[in-house]
Assembly symmetry: C2
C-alpha cells in the first residue's frame, strides 16, 4: 500500500547536525531522522553523507525500499546554500531526481510564519534576518561572525574575550563576568589567545549563556554587552520591518533569550513562530513539488 | 685579523620577514642581511630557516667561515616569543651556543628609547605597547586581532569590511569609503565573506591605508573609524604612561600615521624613536653578552 503513495522529504541542515522529515502528499510527517553536520562550507562530502544518511533512515523507517530514495522529491534548507557553486556541486553529488537546495534561513522563515508575509530574526551562533513582504523574500545579515553576524553567540563570545583581555591589561575596569572568564583560563591571557586562534564560531558561542546569566545579575559589562547586542537587533528590525508595528518572530538558539530583552515597542509586535525550520522544509517541499500551500 | 675580534648578532623577526645585523664588541654594525618570515606561531621550521639564513649571510658578508656562526652570541626579538613552549623549541632547533629569544616588542622598545625608561606604542598589523619605568619592563596588548590588537591594521580592515556589509544590507548609511570597498569586491558581499574567511591579519591590514586616505578627505565612516582607533590608543596611553606628561614613541607601520592624529595633549609628549627594532636587538646583544650598555 505504502508504495502507491506519494512521498516528500524536507531537510534542515546546519553545522551542528542535519534532520530529515518524510511526509505524505498532505505534508503530514511520517518519519523523522537525524545525522551529523551538513555545513557545505566546511565539507561538501561530510554534508552529502549526513544528508543521505538521515534521508535514507527516514525512508527505511516507513519500510520503503532503499532504491525508492532517489525518486522522492526533496527540499532542503542548508547553511551556506547561498553560495551557488557549493549549492550546485552538492546537488550533483546527491542521487535525488528532484531536489531543491535553499538556505536554512529560508526554511526557518517558512516554518516560523508560513507562506504569507512576515519576518524572522534568526539568532543562534550567527545572526540572519529573513523576511517576506508582498510575496518578495529577502535576507539581511548572515555574513559570518568574522565580518558580520552581529549579536550572534560567536560575536558575543568574541566581544567577551576581547573585553577580558582589556581588563587583564588594566585598560578597562573588570566585572564578575570578565573575572569568571579569566578564572576559566587559569588567569592566563595566552590561553585565551590560543583558544581564540583555533576557535570555531560555535566555540566562541559557548560563552553566550554566561553573558546573559551575568547580565541578568546586573554585571556591568554583561549588561553593556547585551544592551549593545539588543541595539544591533533593534536597528536591523527597524530596517527590515515595513513599519513600526509589523509583527516578527525571534528564532534560533538565542532568539527567545533576546526576545525577552527587546524594548517594549518591539515586544508588542513579537509573535510566536508557527513551527521550526524542518516543518518549513516540509511545507516548501509540498509547495514546490506538489503545488500546494499547506 | 677579523677572526680575533668578538662578534654579536642581533635579529629582528616577524611575519613578513627577518633581519640580522652582525656587530663588533662596541655594537658597531658590520653587516646586514634579510630573509623570509620568522613567525614562530605560524611555522617554527620556516622561522628557524629564515633566521639561520639571514644570520649566515651576515657572517659570510664579512668573510667569516660558516662554522663560526654557532659561536657568535645572538639576541633575537620575535613575534610570538612570549609563548614559552615555542620559544624553547626554537632555541633547541638553532645551533647557537649563546642565544636569547625575546619578543619583537622588547627589541622595538630598546631601539626606540634605549636602555632607560620610556614607552612605545607599536602599531602595525597588530598593536602592542611596551614600556619601562624604574627599570621594570612591561607589555600591554598584542593579543592578536581576533580578540585584541585594537587599532592595528588588521582590526581596521575587519571593522571596515563589517561596516561595508552593514551598508550593503541597508542597516547603516554608506560613505565613499564603504562604496570603494564594495566596488573592489564587485559589489558582491559573498566575495567579502570569502575574503574574510581565509584572510590573514596582514590581508585585513591591506585596507588600512584606504581608511586613513578617506578619513583625511572627510569620509563620514573613515573619520568615525579613525576616531575610534585613536581613542583606543589614547585610552591605552593613559593607562601605561606614569603621568600625563610622560614622553612616548609611536612606532610600527601605522605608528607615524596615528601619531599625527592623536589629541594635542598627547602630541606634546610624543618623541621620535632613536632607532629601529634591529638596532634594539643589537644593543641588547651587547648588553646581554658583553655587559655593556651602548
Amino acid at each position: 500500500m505504502v508504495e502507491d503513495q506519494k512521498f516528500y522529504l524536507g531537510v534542515d541542515g546546519g553545522g551542528t547536525g542535519c534532520r530529515a522529515c518524510l511526509c505524505d502528499a498532505d505534508g503530514v510527517p511520517l518519519s523523522f531522522a537525524k545525522a551529523g553536520s551538513a555545513n557545505i562550507m566546511s565539507s561538501l562530502d561530510v554534508a552529502r553523507d549526513s544528508i543521505l544518511q538521515c534521508c535514507s533512515e527516514a525512508v527505511e523507517q516507513i519500510g520503503l525500499p532503499a532504491e525508492k530514495l532517489s525518486q522522492i522529491p526533496v527540499y532542503m534548507g542548508l547553511a551556506g546554500a547561498e553560495y551557488e557553486a557549493l549549492n550546485t556541486k552538492l546537488k550533483q553529488r546527491l542521487p535525488f531526481e528532484n531536489i531543491i537546495v535553499e538556505t536554512d534561513a529560508r526554511i526557518s522563515l517558512e516554518g516560523a510564519v508560513g507562506s504569507g508575509d512576515g519576518a524572522a530574526a534568526i539568532i543562534g551562533t550567527g545572526s540572519i534576518y529573513q523576511y517576506r513582504y508582498n510575496g518578495v523574500e529577502k535576507t539581511t545579515g548572515g555574513w559570518g561572525f568574522m565580518v558580520g553576524d552581529l549579536s550572534g553567540g560567536a560575536w558575543l563570545g568574541r566581544e567577551l574575550l576581547q573585553e577580558t583581555l582589556l581588563v587583564y591589561d588594566g585598560i578597562h575596569a573588570g566585572s564578575p563576568l570578565t573575572q569568571a572568564v579569566l578564572d576559566q583560563f587559569g588567569n592566563n591571557p595566552q590561553k585565551i589567545v590560543e583558544f581564540a586562534q583555533g576557535a570555531s564560531p560555535a566555540s566562541f558561542g559557548t560563552f553566550a549563556p554566561m553573558v546573559f546569566d551575568f547580565a541578568d545579575k546586573g554585571d556591568s559589562f554583561g549588561v553593556r554587552l547585551v544592551h549593545k547586542a539588543v541595539a544591533n537587533i533593534e536597528e536591523t528590525l527597524d530596517r527590515i520591518l515595513p513599519d513600526a508595528t509589523s509583527p516578527f518572530c525571534m528564532i534560533g538558539g538565542l532568539g527567545a533569550i533576546y526576545a525577552q530583552r527587546l524594548g517594549d515597542d518591539y515586544k508588542k509586535h513579537l509573535i510566536a513562530a508557527k513551527g521550526d525550520a524542518l516543518s518549513g522544509a516540509v511545507s516548501l517541499a509540498i509547495q514546490s513539488f506538489n503545488g500546494r500551500i499547506l
